[in-house]
């Protein structure tokens, strides 16, 4: 009986080895380990054995079973692994083919510049304010120390709708509106970006509609050196830590003193080149200390309060930063232009 079991084991192991599919393997399992298989048959004949022999044969039969079973398991694993490998090989793709694109949009360059400037001033404690694009003559001019007949009104010929209503020529009326709203009672620290309109014929450097960002800080003891410090931080963050600023006299009816801010030319660092027209400097924005009449018209005590204001053109900044050569690009919305600035 022993011999028979050994024989069966050898036979089964050979068949396991020869099997190549899971089906064949299953057949082997059923044939040798099934209820009607030869090992079970051998065990059935155990009744004829002696008391001493029975446990020996029983144990042997179990060992044989286990050996066959583990041989079967092992073989099954290897067949499965092979099958997987084959399947994966079949699934291989050409990863160099183009991907399925997700639609890509993005902000307008002017919005990017405006938001960058907003965030920069928010970081210095400023709020963002908005105001109407169609203004009254009062807020657009008179509240800013530009009474009717003032020669500086020539500087910004305007689109009037009626005698008293016009397209705002700058974002400065938002200053006056904001100050008026709080009636001279506390400090104001804000910037206001927005669209403005002037009677200019559209060409490479002029646009009848453009963008402005105005800034205003009114408080007790605001100094001109604070303006210089704030503008210096703005210029360095916006254009680079290696840029210097300078202030030089200018004129705006709503500030006194009034200055223009230049930054050092990034090409020549102040030596003078064709980019900066040999001056070493590039004009960026206008600024100044808020005119006492403007403060008083808004209800502030100009002895107690002082402030600074500044105004800049995002188009100009974009043109300087990215070398855009024609202001009309911002308004024709050529997709090829817009997409250039969708990259982070």
């Amino acid at each position: 009986m022993k011999e028979r079991l050994q024989e069966l084991k050898q036979e089964a192991l050979v068949k396991v080895k020869e099997a190549t599919t899971l089906k064949e393997l299953q057949d082997v399992r059923v044939a040798y380990l099934g209820k009607k298989g030869p090992i079970t048959e051998v065990l059935r004949g155990m009744g004829k054995l002696s008391k001493e022999e029975r446990p020996v044969i029983g144990e042997l039969a179990n060992t044989v079973r286990q050996d066959i079973a583990s041989a079967l398991d092992e073989k099954k694993e290897s067949i499965e692994a092979e099958a997987l490998e084959k399947q994966l090989a079949e699934e291989t793709i050409d990863v160099s083919l183009p991907g399925r694109p997700a639609p890509v949009g993005g902000p307008h360059l002017l919005t990017s510049i405006v938001e960058e400037i907003e965030d920069l001033f928010i970081g210095m404690g400023f709020e963002v304010r908005e105001g109407p694009e169609v203004e009254t003559d009062y807020y657009n001019f008179e509240a800013l120390n530009l009474p009717k007949g003032h020669p500086a009104r020539d500087m910004q010929d305007s689109f009037y709708i009626t005698e008293d209503i016009l397209m705002r020529t700058h974002t400065s009326p938002v200053q006056a509106r904001t100050m008026n709203a709080i009636d001279g009672s506390k400090s104001v620290k804000m910037i206001c970006p927005g669209k403005v309109y002037r009677r200019d014929t559209d060409d490479a450097t002029h646009s009848h509609q453009f963008t402005q960002i105005e800034g205003l800080y009114v408080d007790e003891n605001v100094r001109m050196s604070d303006l210089k410090g704030v503008l210096d931080r703005f210029a360095k963050q916006m254009f680079g830590e290696d840029r210097e600023i300078r202030l030089r006299p200018s004129f705006f009816p709503f500030t006194e003193p009034s200055v223009e801010m230049d930054i050092s030319c990034k090409v020549c660092h102040g030596e003078g080149c064709h980019v900066c027209k040999k001056t070493g400097w590039i004009e960026i924005l206008g600024a100044g200390m808020v005119h006492p009449r403007v403060l008083e018209m808004a209800g502030y005590d100009s002895q107690k309060y002082s402030g600074f204001a500044f105004g800049m053109g995002p188009e100009r900044i974009a043109m300087l930063k990215y070398g855009v050569d024609d202001i009309r690009h911002f308004y024709t919305n050529d997709i090829r232009f817009l997409k250039q600035y969708h990259k982070a």
Partner: protein, 808 residues
């Protein structure tokens, strides 16, 4: 204003700096220098020559053969200029000279005759054509008789001058004169100023015996002075004077006109010379013009005046439009011998009005408009008299006939060192303040830190403390101001909720594949009424237009962002950019009045325009054109991200495809629309199939609640059921869906369309719509029976309400 540095040197020493360094200092301290130009170039070997003889060239009709004495030698020169003549003094470029344009002068033979140099025109010497006096425009230049033979032309013609162009801001009218610039430069460089020596030699005869002055419009003309100069000989001005005018950009005409222009530039005071013999009377009457009164100005134009204009008359007819232009009647000519010279102060506004009405902006009107220095009016007249006597042989009568109510008083402004330092953030001493005032040539009285400044009348712009603050700051130097940061309490700064939300909406749309545009707010009358959303139309009473548009294209304020956006699509399509998805955030403007008298309401909209392919993936043959559902999908997701429920209802709107348009509602309030542009309108923009949306952003911001509430993540399983219904093709999926939702109640978490079919497997006029229903209860596991019961109730309800049959 163009400033000749050679001219400026007569008043201040500027030789310590190069022209470039001087320009930089002027820019940094006071007035922006817009340009710096070398007038000409220094020329060597170009000298004054005397034409001893001038004969026809033996072999050429149009050429002359001249013997020219240039000092050490006499040169034979062939000259083709038509105006060459014996006895002239001319500019001779000797062999070896190099003229502008690198034109080298050599000995040559012209038509067989030796020529040793060239006789030059001003243009050949590098002077711009427009500045060349008319008589020399087509030939050589002839020097005055007293010019020294052999003298270099560089100095004589001022060719070594440097011209700086000042961009003068409206407040600094004082710098519209050479003396004003001289004061400025004197302050910057801390050098003394030399004023012109003004000594008129007059005869005993009095001007007042010949002319009287009467001013009726006294407010508009507080000073009028009339000088009389007899025996004038009109002719060319001296060379130096012509040179200065040319450098300043003014063409020389004759000595009388040139002298008034010279004084205008020197003092900033415009003057006018009348031919007194043609003036028509011996009285000057200044008055407002009469309505419809007519006069001919110097340019021979007939002008129709009104009572808003000021005129200088002879008692009956206007002889000049005050401050703007003289009259043709009494114009100075070559025959003029007696001059009435006007020196006056005209009100800035009245001059401005006339200059604007007649489009006659001139050097004169420009200065009157900005306000001239009261203390220089008579002085300028005297200066002109002096020059007329010197350079036009004039006999100046004694005194001046005048009307004078001018305010000559200096303003006083008080400043305090401590307040100056507090405003600037500086630490300037009393002594430094005093020093700055001295540099500016301002008189002052000092009492400790208090300075009472007597502001000279040339500085009309300085009236209050802050004006003086600026003077101190700029002379002290903005470069010397420290960099500080505001001391005030730390404000938080930041964006408001609405501003954050707007940024969210922008980023969402950009993430969905849309590019932002910025289009013009001003559109054309033709476009303005296109694609206006129903809720805007309802509120609108009138559109808002500009009183004086520059062009029809930008004449009216938009009611919708879409027309201009379609314009940009059209622009791109014309450039072969077919696949475009744009959005824009911006205001539209509506008036609620028939006649606009108030500011229009500004309504914030977010709009989009899409055309062409939405998805392309060529190698897998995938291509999807933009359609209604692309747009709807974007909007649905947008509103989902805002946690706002929005309904799309089939709608027929002007300019939109009647079958592919939805009106959008939130809480039953119209907030815009989405759909395909009507093919007829598409065609006018040369567009293919184009989809748009336009939404009321104000309302979206208003109702948005920024804090999402916490919903528990469901712990119990959901049960999914599909239902396919056959209905008439007119039935909207949305209608069936709302029936399902209503009947299903809270158990039905979501209803999704997953298939729509119409075709050969169904009867004509029928379609099948398949929905997926998701059942879920957050508190427990649902039983099959409840779901089954709900499902049956839904089938009954849709059969009832929409005649829907289950698809077998």
């Amino acid at each position: 204003m163009f400033v000749s540095l050679n001219w400026l040197k007569n008043y201040v020493d500027i030789d310590q700096l190069s022209p470039e360094a001087l320009a930089e200092r002027i820019t940094k301290t006071g007035i922006e220098v817009d340009g710096l130009e070398r007038f000409g170039q220094s020329l060597t070997n170009v000298v004054v020559g005397y034409v001893e003889s001038c004969e026809k060239h033996p072999n050429a009709d149009k050429l002359n053969l001249c013997q020219v004495n240039v000092g050490e030698e006499t040169l034979q020169i062939v000259c083709g200029a038509p105006n060459i003549a014996q006895g002239q003094k001319v500019a001779v470029a000797k062999p070896g000279a190099v003229l502008p344009g690198n034109f080298k002068i050599k000995k040559a033979k012209l038509r067989g005759v030796e020529s040793n140099g060239m006789i030059c025109s001003l243009q050949e010497l590098g002077i711009e054509e427009k500045f060349v006096p008319k008589e020399f425009a087509n030939g050589i230049f002839v020097f005055p008789e007293d010019s020294e033979i052999g003298a270099g032309v560089t100095e004589l013609l001022n060719l070594d001058d440097v011209i700086i162009e000042l961009d003068i801001t409206p407040n600094r009218s004082d710098a519209f004169s050479m003396l004003g610039v001289a004061y400025e430069v004197a302050a910057i460089l801390d050098v003394p100023i030399r004023l012109p020596q003004n000594s008129v030699r007059t005869v005993e005869e009095k001007a007042t015996d010949h002319v009287s002055v009467q001013v009726e419009a006294q407010e508009n003309n507080p000073y009028y002075g009339a000088f009389i100069i007899n025996d004038v000989q009109v002719g060319p001005s001296p060379l130096w004077l012509r040179n200065y005018l040319i450098a300043a950009g003014i063409r020389p005409i004759n000595n009388v006109v040139d002298i008034t222009n010279y004084v205008l530039l020197e003092y900033g005071q415009p003057l006018h010379a009348f031919d007194f013999d043609k003036f028509g009377s011996n009285q000057v009457v200044v008055r407002q013009a009469k309505e419809q009164e007519k006069m001919y100005t110097l340019d021979d134009q007939e002008r129709t005046l009104s009572s808003e204009h000021l005129v200088i008359t002879n008692g009956s007819t206007p002889q000049a439009l005050a401050g703007v232009m003289g009259g043709a009647d009494s114009e100075v000519s070559d025959q003029t011998t007696t001059i009435l010279l006007e020196a006056a102060y005209f009100d800035p506004q009245i001059v401005r009005k006339a200059a604007k009405d007649f489009e006659l902006r001139s050097e004169s009107s420009n200065r009157f408009e900005k306000g001239v220095d009261p203390n220089r009016v008579r002085l300028a007249g005297e200066r002109a008299c002096q020059l007329l006597s010197q350079y036009a042989n004039g006999t100046v009568l004694d005194g001046v006939a005048e009307f004078d109510q001018l305010d000559y008083q200096e303003k006083t402004v008080t400043i305090w060192t401590s307040i100056i330092n507090a405003r600037l953030g500086t630490d300037i001493s009393n002594d430094e303040i005093g020093d700055i005032l001295r540099k500016l040539n301002f008189d002052y009285e000092q009492d400790g830190e208090t300075f009472t400044v007597f502001v000279p009348t040339r500085r009309q712009d300085i009236t209050i403390f802050e004006d003086m603050l600026e003077e101190v700051a700029r002379i002290y130097g903005y470069d010397n101001l420290p960099f500080t940061l505001p001391q005030g309490g730390a404000q938080a700064g930041g964006l408001t909720k609405n501003q954050q939300l707007k940024r969210h909406i922008k980023s969402f749309l950009e993430g969905a594949g849309l590019s932002e545009t910025v289009t013009y707010s001003l559109t054309s009358k033709g476009r303005v009424n296109q694609l206006v959303s129903p809720e805007i139309q309802e509120e609108l009473v009138s559109t808002v237009s500009l009183a004086m548009p520059m062009s029809e294209d930008h004449s009216t304020l938009r009611l919708s962002l879409l027309p201009e956006m379609l314009g940009t699509l059209s622009y791109n399509l014309a450039r072969k950019q077919q696949n475009i998805a744009y959005y824009e955030l911006g205001s539209v403007f509506i008036s609620k009045e028939e006649e606009v008298t108030k500011q229009p309401e500004e309504k914030l909209r977010v709009s989009g325009a899409l055309t062409g392919d939405w998805i392309t993936h060529p190698w897998q043959q995938e291509k999807k054109q933009v359609d209604f559902f692309v747009v709807k999908g974007i909007l649905e997701s947008l509103f989902a991200s805002l946690n706002i429920d929005v309904q799309f209802k089939q709608a027929k709107l002007d300019d939109m495809h009647p079958g592919r348009t939805a009106q959008l509602f939130i809480n039953n309030r119209s907030i815009g629309f989405a759909g395909q542009v009507h093919p007829t309108l598409q065609k006018t923009y040369n567009l293919k199939e184009t989809y748009v949306f336009d939404l009321d952003l104000d309302y979206v911001l208003e109702i948005h609640k920024n804090e999402p509430s916490f919903d528990k993540i469901p712990r119990y399983p959901s049960i999914s059921r599909d239902i396919a219904l056959v209905v008439d093709e007119e039935i909207n999926a949305g209608a069936i869906q709302s029936t399902i939702q209503q009947v299903g109640g809270e158990l039905v978490k979501s209803v999704q369309v997953f298939d729509v079919y119409q075709g050969k497997h169904l009867d004509a006029g029928k379609k099948s719509i398949a929905f997926n229903l998701l059942y879920q209860d957050p508190e427990r596991t649902l039983k099959d029976e409840e779901v089954e019961a709900s499902y049956q109730a839904i089938i009954d309800a849709v059969a009832n309400e929409h005649q829907a049959e289950l698809r077998g």
